[in-house]
């Protein structure tokens, strides 16, 4: 069984941004995403999930390196300065590289 390297981009941001982030990742060339509601804390203080208005969402995207880079760049230039969020990249291996 061969495994192929791919990037995993993880974004944690205000729940309200989910739709915009999904739009943005499509535009950056990603073919899919996974999302779920989370709570947390950071520079902008505590974010409670009992109210979706104050909760966060975690979005995970498997993508080719170039797409991951494009996505991170756009997040940086368009959303980072205005919203509570973090984003990070890591290395993963998949079995069906053409899926991503």
């Amino acid at each position: 069984m061969s495994l192929y390297p791919m990037k995993l981009v993880t974004i944690v941001c205000e729940a309200i941004l989910e739709e915009r982030v999904v739009e943005l990742l499509r535009q950056a060339g990603a073919h899919g995403h996974t999302a779920f509601s989370v709570r947390g804390s950071g520079n902008q203080g505590e974010r409670h999930a009992d109210i979706s208005e104050t909760g966060n969402v975690q979005v995970e995207i498997i993508a080719k390196p170039a797409v991951a880079e494009a996505l991170l760049k756009r997040l940086h230039s368009e959303l980072f300065s205005s919203y509570a969020m973090v984003a990070y990249e890591s290395d993963v291996r998949v079995m069906r590289p053409d899926k991503f």
């Binding site: 309200i16 941004l17 739709e19 915009r20 009992d50 109210i51 979706s52 208005e53 205005s82």
Partner: protein
């Protein structure tokens, strides 16, 4: 019932007391937590219930009676940001975005404040136009649109519809869940009328007051967590959070009176004008005016104006409406 005993009975209503309990739970950092979906379930329930009841009332009263006060309410909502914005800019020294954001919140409305007001009127046996929830439905969006335009620099000619955040926000403020549920249920109520009401009464009417109490417990927790932010918002906003509702509420009562509403109906229009949105507006404003600091608008709306209205504001506007009708 005189003014002070009205205030007292209002303060001792389960809804207000549960709000206080929620604040207590937040302040003492109790481990009480509402599960993630309970709050949105309660929101959906309250909006449908209130819209449906309003629709049945419109079915009975006839749209001919409703349109004039509804149009007046809508206009008032759209106008409020126009005087709120400059005050916040020049006296409050807020940035363009912040002033627009706060103006949007105060022009828009709070459904729960409205419900608390109808409860108050019921508890003192003051009749009111039951179709008044139509005013609630039409007052939600206009101020958000106006406030966002101001906050985007419309006065300086910088506002543009091509901004993605603005488009999302405007769509949400018109097609958003609040408006959709309120107007949708209202139409359903108007179409299915008394017969429809009879069938769903056991769910949308009978448990309503208790559900509201539960909702206010959660609101209290949310407001309680914001109490710490009161120091950050500064004295001006504290003052604004009390004086804006008094001013807007009085304007609403007066306008209600002028368009022919009863004492109860004028009270409700006053309460709506006085109330500040903490559901629809924050979401739309956050998306379209990210430069605005949500601590300002939310703390003012939720931790100052909301408690003021449900404790003192409601009896006050009722008192005013009574005086106008003498």
């Amino acid at each position: 019932m005189d003014f002070f005993s009205a205030i007292q009975s209002n303060l001792l209503s389960p809804a207000v007391l549960f709000f206080v309990l929620g604040i207590f739970a937040a302040v003492t950092k109790s481990d009480l937590k509402f599960p993630e979906s309970l709050y949105s379930t309660l929101t959906i329930y309250l909006l449908i219930a209130i819209g449906f009841k309003g629709g049945v009332a419109i079915n009975e009263a006839g749209i001919g009676v409703v349109w004039l006060p509804a149009a007046a309410a809508m206009t008032l909502g759209g106008l409020i940001p126009l005087w709120t914005y400059p005050v916040l800019r020049h006296f409050g020294k807020f940035s363009i975005a912040d002033a627009g954001a706060i103006a949007a919140h105060y022009g828009s409305v709070s459904a729960v404040t409205f419900i608390a007001a109808t409860n108050f009127l019921k508890s003192i046996n003051q009749p009111y136009e039951t179709y008044a929830s139509a005013f609630l439905a039409v007052m939600e969006s206009p101020a958000i649109i106006v406030g966002v335009m101001l906050g985007k620099g419309a006065l300086g000619g910088k506002f543009s519809l091509s901004d993605q955040g603005v488009r999302h926000a405007l769509r949400d403020s018109v097609l958003g869940k609040g408006v959709l549920l309120l107007i949708g249920s209202m139409i359903i109520g108007a179409l299915s009328g008394k017969g429809g009401m009879a069938s769903v009464e056991g769910f949308f009417v009978m448990p309503f007051q208790g559900v509201l109490a539960l909702f206010l417990l959660e609101m209290g927790m949310v407001a309680g967590r914001r109490l710490g932010d009161l120091k950050k918002v500064g004295f001006f906003l504290l003052l604004f959070g009390i004086s804006a509702p008094i001013l807007h509420g009085s304007a609403g009562v007066l306008l209600g009176h002028l368009v022919g509403l009863s004492t109860g109906g004028a009270t409700l229009m006053g309460v709506l004008s006085a109330s500040a949105s903490y559901i629809a507006a924050p979401a739309a404003v956050r998306l379209s005016l990210p430069e605005a600091n949500p601590t300002f608008s939310l703390t003012a709306a939720l931790a100052i104006t909301f408690p003021f209205n449900i404790t003192f504001g409601i009896p006050l506007f009722h008192e005013l409406a009574k005086h106008l009708h003498v």
